[in-house]
Amino acid sequence: MRAAVSWIRAVVPALPADVTTEQLADRLTALGLKQEAIERPGHDVTGPLVVGRVLSFEDEPQKNGKTIRWCSVDVGSANGTGEPQGIVCGAHNFVVGDLVPVILPGGVLPGDFEISARKTYGHVSAGMICSARELGLGDDHDGIIVLPADAGEPGDDVFDVLPLRDEVIEFEINPDRAYALSLRGVGREAALAYGVDFDDPADRPVPASDQAAYDVVVEDPVGCPVFTGRSVTGFDPSAPTPDWMARRIQLAGMRPISLAVDVTNYVMLELGQPIHGFDRDKLAGPIVVRRARAGEKLRTLDGADRTLSEEDLLITDDSGPIGLAGVMGGETTELSDTTTNIFIEAAHWDPVAIFRTERRHKLPSEASKRFERGTDPTIPLVAADRVAELLTTYGGGIVDDGVTYVGAPPAIASITVDAGLPARVSGMDIPASVTVANLRAVGCTVVESGSTLTVTPPPWRGDLTDPFDLVEEVARIVGYSDVPSVLPPAAHGRGLTRSQRLRRRVGRTLAGEGYVEVVSFPFIGTRDLDALGLDASDPRRTLLRLANPLSSEEPAMTTTLLPGLLKTVARNAGRGALDVALFETATVTLPRASGPAPIFGVDHRPSDAQLDELDKALPGQPLHLGLAVSGERERAGWWGPGRPGTWADALDGVRRVAESVGVEVTVRATAHAPWHPGRCAEIAVGDAVLGHAGELHPRVCAAYGIPARTAAAEIDLSRLLEHASSMVEAPEYSSFPVAKEDVALVVDDTVTAADVEAALRAGAGEYLESVRLFDVYTGPQVGEGKKSLAFALRFRAPDRTLTESEAGAFRDAAVASAAERCGAVQR
């Protein structure tokens, strides 16, 4: 909402003259009408800008086809000499004797356009005769402004004649304050801000209804509780809009069009009641207000043909629909430059119906903006009457006697509230007397009965329905700045949950390992999954699709973090960062076959069973951890060459995470997209598979445009954390010497190190302290298809020093077990 300060002052004459626009805007902001901006139109125009009288002119055709006018203009003594001023003018819409605005050399027009005497078309033009657009008064550039004959004398300051300079406050109006989408509302708040009297511009007498302005039948009184109208006959469609009115409309951000249209807009801005004017001669039969029928169409006055929904509220006549109620009129009955007889409609519409129609047809308008938030149902006839008055005042004709008024404003429910509630809720010291006074100041009727107040809100405050709504009204007038700052009584929380603490630890662990955390969007398309090489039955292809995705390429929620990570690897590589280690923790969305989520009432809590049903209707959303290693994991330097990241780094990343939260994971070889089938590890806790790690399939690297041999891992972090045990049993450890035994075992290539290690552990007996693989060898010494695994075994007894022969026997038992289970041969 934009309001010229001059208009606010006209509505609230009692506003103190010394209040600046900034002060006014600040006060209104503190009351809840938030100042978005203050503009000062016309303040970039500086004089001399004076009234001139055209004494004579010559029309001079030019070679370029134009005809210019060489004018002699009397500007009084404004030019210092009193002599007529010679001015070249391109416009022709004036005659000798007309008064025109003249800017003289030294003046400045909007856009920092400084005027000087200049040679043009063979003359020295000492100034300029101005158009509306040149003065910032509007778009009109068809001709110059011709001032009224009584505008003043040559040499008078045009700033006194035209409404050039003003100040405009632009407000951001919250949805609950629809009344402030009018000067009536802004004025009321301004009066409230300064505690001055306010004369409601809607408080004017209206004639009694005889239903004779036009025949109207309202078939849907729910959608249209009030429909009023007046008629004007003999209107002059060529009558101009007065400058002051056009200027107020323009400063409000709308475009002056014609007197008839401008008056309806002006009254809407003034009172907040949208009004529609019909060309009465184009109406056929009585007006009927009803819902649309299937298949009905309407060409709205923006020229668009609209197919109507059966929910749309319509204004119709014998010809069919002639207006989309409260949203936009139809083309056939539109006010035109030949309209002389006008039917003025002002109605009260159901906000929800207007809201739905506006959204359905994507037709936000100044009218629908007001109707959908709620207008004052008691003023439609006041507004229609005001329009009729302004039309006839400036456009001639007469207001017909007939007054149409169908329906009645809905009753307003009163609210019972304890007078102490505003103080109790706001924490401010607000006596009951202040509560009552403030409620009356916003227009409520208050009946006191002890400490109980019965409050009836004014008809323009449809938003006031609950006691707490009244608390806000009282509190904002007392002033939010008076709310004291007090910490609430101490809470007794138990700190972060274990899961929350462990998640922090996971992030810190990976950052400590050199991984950089990234945050990706969760949107995905099948192309991303194709690029991962997932086969048709892969469960990760079961996506939660979005009804209105931001991009048709990514119409679903992802089931895996890898696409986001790999795209980020590619983005970094594209920017020259080829060696990266990235991680991300985020939820993925795993749809499950379930019905719709229930919608409950809101007047009581749903039952536990209902809430359970609600949760079951939602997809699974486990927290995943993904990581990717690309390029060198350790860089080259004076110490030697760099070390490329491999499958082992990705796997180690997961292992570090598991260690950091105290979970022991096991690893098995597997083949699983999008990993290299020979370099993919399945990560499990017990029998539960948590995820995978390894080198990516070369085709995946190619598809994502990332460096070859990029490694990645993804695990279900939620489940990993479930296995994180909070209780650790303190170990008992022996202080007797350790016995070390190294063994090198030759096995088939296909035997995994994990299996050999498990076999050693199984055979080594109770004094085995640790097993560590310290070397893997393949080559001629062990033969084709074989590898040698070297393990360091450590034995220790709790109660004595093991002898060499004891340790040797344990080692031999371990080796025998490996031989038996894995076919291992000691080298």
């Binding site: 938030k34 919250n174 929800v352 739905r356 959204r359 109790r424 809720v425 706001s426 924490g427 707490f468 608390v471 806000e472 939010y480 709310v483 004291p484 007090v486 910490l487 609430p488 009584p489 101490a490 809470a491 007794h492 929380g493 138990r494 700190g495 972060l496 950052a511 400590g512 390992e513 050199g514 950089v516 955390e517 990234v518 945050v519 969007f521 939660l544 009804a547 209105n548 931001l550 929620m557 983005r571 970094n572 920017r575 280690a581 985020a586 939820t587 989520a597 919608i599 409950f600 809101v602 007047d603 009581h604 809590r605 749903p606 609600l614 209707a617 939602l618 959303q621 994991r633 004076w638």
Partner: protein
Amino acid sequence: MSGPNSSYDPVEVTPLRADQVEEMREQAFAAIAAAGDLAELKQVRLDHAGDRSPLALANREIGALPPQARKEAGQRVGQARGAVQQAIAARQAELEVQAEERMLVDETVDVTLPTSRRPAGSRHPLTTLAEDIADVFVALGWEVAEGPVVEAEWLNFDALNLGPDHPARTMQDTIWAEPAENHVVLRTHTSPVQARTMLTRTPPIHVVCPGRVYRTDPYDATHSPMFHQVEGLVVDEGITMAHLKGTLDHFAAAMFGDGITTRFRPSYFPFTEPSAEVDLICWICRGVNSEDCRTCRGEGWVEWGGCGVVNPRVLTACGVDTDRYTGFAFGMGIDRTLMMRYAVSDLRDLFEGDVRFSSAFGTEL
């Protein structure tokens, strides 16, 4: 260097003369002093203190002397041998120190060489800032509540007094799961977590809810379809707007420094009544001579978030006794707070995953 006298014949000489013993000692001293390193000193020890050294041989002669001469010669030779041993030990210590010093000099490296073989990792500032925020409230005794991102329409809207015809529910603002008749949305705020908390706990409730939210916003320097919010909720007996103000002042000072307080402006949110927008005193200019301040654009205040007294309709839908309890709630953008605190000019920097961005913030803020 002086070596043993190869023509020396102990039988022919009379080594026990004082001047001869003195000379042997002087020779030994000279040799010790001349030893330039530990290897040379080792040879000197053999030559002048070893079994075949002149003094050792002289010592053997003592037994052949007449008894009265024996004592005198014994003393003379013994003293000389002791002195030589001491001199060798002293020189040994000296040379060891020198050798160590030389070794340490030889082993000098250029400590300005780069040492990091692996680039440092980092966490995302959105993560660490969310943790910092949570910690402010955990320190007040609050708990951190969480909930699903893909959420039921009823919890995202209805329970929060956003009725069926609220503008925010349209496809123009909210991302819906398909089909829309399933009533599942990507949560548009973290408020459903508040609702879930009230539905599952009994007051007093003190929770803070950081999390990821989605809207159909364009993706540009100041908007994103995905962003992060933190909301707070307190429900207890006697809770007022004053407690809300106190909490937000505390939060503002924790985030932006001592002396940074908040201002309330009346506003509208369906889930709170009364409602307010929260502004912060500009932490750059502190509201003083703001004209040239780019952070607050001359306002002296910076918009931070929204807040209010929990609408009793919300309490009712969530099963909280409105006769007994009141509550307050607030919410602000973590992304926006991050951008304000660290002068991030383009929101997209948070989601591009460029390692240079996160790396600048390290592991903790």
